[in-house]
Symmetry: none
Subunit: 325 residues, 3 copies
Amino acid sequence: RIMRPDDANVAGNVHGGTILKMIEEAGAIISTRHCNSQAGEPCVAALARVERTDFLSPVCIGEVANVSAEITYTSRHSVEVQVNVMSENILTGAKKVTNKATLWYVPLSLKNVNKVLEVPPIQYARKEQEDEGKKRYEEQKLDRLETKQRNGDVIFPIINPEPHTVGYSQSSLIHLVGPSDCTLLGFVHGGVTMKLMDEVAGIVAARHCKTNIVTASVDAINFHEKIKKGSVITISGRMTFTSNKSMEIEVFVDADPFVDEPRERYRAVSAFFTYVSLSKEGKPLPVPQLLTETEDEKRRFDEGKGRYLQTKAKRQAQEQQAARQ
Amino acid sequence: RIMRPDDANVAGNVHGGTILKMIEEAGAIISTRHCNSQAGEPCVAALARVERTDFLSPVCIGEVANVSAEITYTSRHSVEVQVNVMSENILTGAKKVTNKATLWYVPLSLKNVNKVLEVPPIQYARKEQEDEGKKRYEEQKLDRLETKQRNGDVIFPIINPEPHTVGYSQSSLIHLVGPSDCTLLGFVHGGVTMKLMDEVAGIVAARHCKTNIVTASVDAINFHEKIKKGSVITISGRMTFTSNKSMEIEVFVDADPFVDEPRERYRAVSAFFTYVSLSKEGKPLPVPQLLTETEDEKRRFDEGKGRYLQTKAKRQAQEQQAARQ
Amino acid sequence: RIMRPDDANVAGNVHGGTILKMIEEAGAIISTRHCNSQAGEPCVAALARVERTDFLSPVCIGEVANVSAEITYTSRHSVEVQVNVMSENILTGAKKVTNKATLWYVPLSLKNVNKVLEVPPIQYARKEQEDEGKKRYEEQKLDRLETKQRNGDVIFPIINPEPHTVGYSQSSLIHLVGPSDCTLLGFVHGGVTMKLMDEVAGIVAARHCKTNIVTASVDAINFHEKIKKGSVITISGRMTFTSNKSMEIEVFVDADPFVDEPRERYRAVSAFFTYVSLSKEGKPLPVPQLLTETEDEKRRFDEGKGRYLQTKAKRQAQEQQAARQ
């Protein structure tokens, strides 16, 4: 679809969150279609996880985003979908790859939302495809268990914080979940949640460096708990790490299903977003270093540095491999 | 994309206007891309006309609408686009044709919005395709001239009207044109206008028969004048004709570009919408007859009857032809 | 949240209605949460009244609006909420107070929408806080009774009106109430109604003075009657008074619940909005005087003048008191 002014920031770059929402919608359509392709209980595919994804080039207002999706692996209870986004300038005809994302969905019964149904298996062109898919499946399963334990943290407000500290840029946004945010099952679309997370992360990044900022990448996101229509969700973001030209922001989503079934507030999702700062000409700018004060902040900074170095090493390895081929 | 609660009326049927907006967006993308496919002045394709279109079957919340578009004819300064909409129930896999629409676009220069550029010619598989396209082009050109003259009418308000009279159901809506309603040139997307027109027509129809109503068809719509960002547009609708099971509503769009360049209010678009009334089970219901009071109302009723009988005759001829083949 | 292009008028100033909608959403969340904080029947807090509120400074596209809410008083069946809005320019770090609003909510049972539940009492830090709250409670109760009687007026259309008369700028808007406009109970959010009222009032003001206009204040608004999903609402506005640099516009909301339960059209809300006209540099401009023609228009002008002088006197008294302290 054509990118509109409301999809973009003041510099005209489309929000990463808008792209993430489109990706998730495409993934939900193709996996729901697949899971209902054989006679049996009707179901809706719910997003369980998005793998780490890089934003390779910014999209601008007036460009057309083309989204294509393909199922690449099925386990007994889950579907792996690969989604590609190309942006096209229909005036010049120029096309660029914007995004490649991998998403995992789980089919939930339309009659009993707590029942996970079986997924019809797909046919693989080659045996290796199945083996590689299985390996990815095992890896993500492990990672989901790990993050489930990490999820207990809370963001405390800080009064009169100094510039460039963690407390200075941290931000929260509250959203009341309406009908258009939800699937047929009455739970929030994963894409809606990711769009709000990107909005908060963007505010944190802009507060820190006071320039035009764009989403560079999103770490793997796990959706542990569903969020029901009528809930109030609080999305909080804080900066965890800065390199010379990038910022890492941790975002938490907490849900409060306060009307229907007064249950305790719970952590629904958490993730790391990476942002870069751009000049008016679209060139990357240096980022002010994050000032860490408490022990926890220092620890999180070091952990963020670890993730940063790991990603960098992985990318270099890929580039070398590509050069060799 | 997936149809959401906000796209539909209370009975869960998606508004014809939502479908028209999607059709126009697809048409604008493909024709803008085509008109920029050769080196030259960059341009944006502006909607000039939509041919009469029937809504063959209603779309429901949760279904996916698949839109495909194809360029079927080019004249020197205009592009004909054929857009097909299929609705797909991703739970059952059932697909239905919802809509087939033909739209005409004109390329306007991005630098000088009043300059119409030349359209790169397309290649036809067979000579007859070009000839048939040319015939359609000549026909629509004639029709556009005719409606341009009809456009002078105004809807006068009536105080304390009786049920089932024209004055009882007539309705107006004002809308302030925002950035997201507009193309890169700063003029309202044709699809946005059509969505608002369908909204007003639907309110007129619902006020008349007080039941659940759906769009059955839209007559050809000509876009004579552009509408600028920041304008206030008034969309007015009045019922012109009722058959046993359908209602015809005339809709006018008037624009008021009052902020930037205080110009007189002008008529931008007008069209006829046909609605049917549906029971809870989705069966067509009888429609209360429209009570006409003035000479003008009687004349418009007769003209509406003429259009109704003509369409009916055309459809029967097509069905007989289809049966013979 | 970040203010987007669609939240603002052509000059980049965010609509007062967008702010009012955010304020109401925050109020609804905090009061619904409070009313469900003790075991008992689940309920949703419905807006009963908004006290007069001033827009202290305009908000621009790209700024972040921070909304905070606090419960300041509870009676047996109602909750008083104080909401503060700060706008923050995240590039410069500059913050301004935009708005301070006081809202009254009433808890309605989720099972039986006509049943008003009891409100859990709050604890006051000092006895005086409770006494002042009680005084505010009694005052607003009285005022609500008064406006209930005023509500019978209707706006009649005028044909070919002269510039600067009441008939020239009066405007109506119809809106079909969709799912996203409604609470879990299926009734329109008070904030949605206020946003539409501000939209009509803004169009009236812009038609009168043909410049860029912004909301300066809103008088107390009482919500006497609920509006159900699927209703058509007509929002009408007419200018009642002009001072040298401000315009007062009276806005009515009428509801037509015509589909489910064909009931007579009824007046749901009414209120006074005050607007000012701004130059391109953001300075207040003189406003053309309103030309009153009928006796009713002259009477309403005088009443508007009374409200204007009263507000002016109150503000001056406050400023003197502030200067003395």
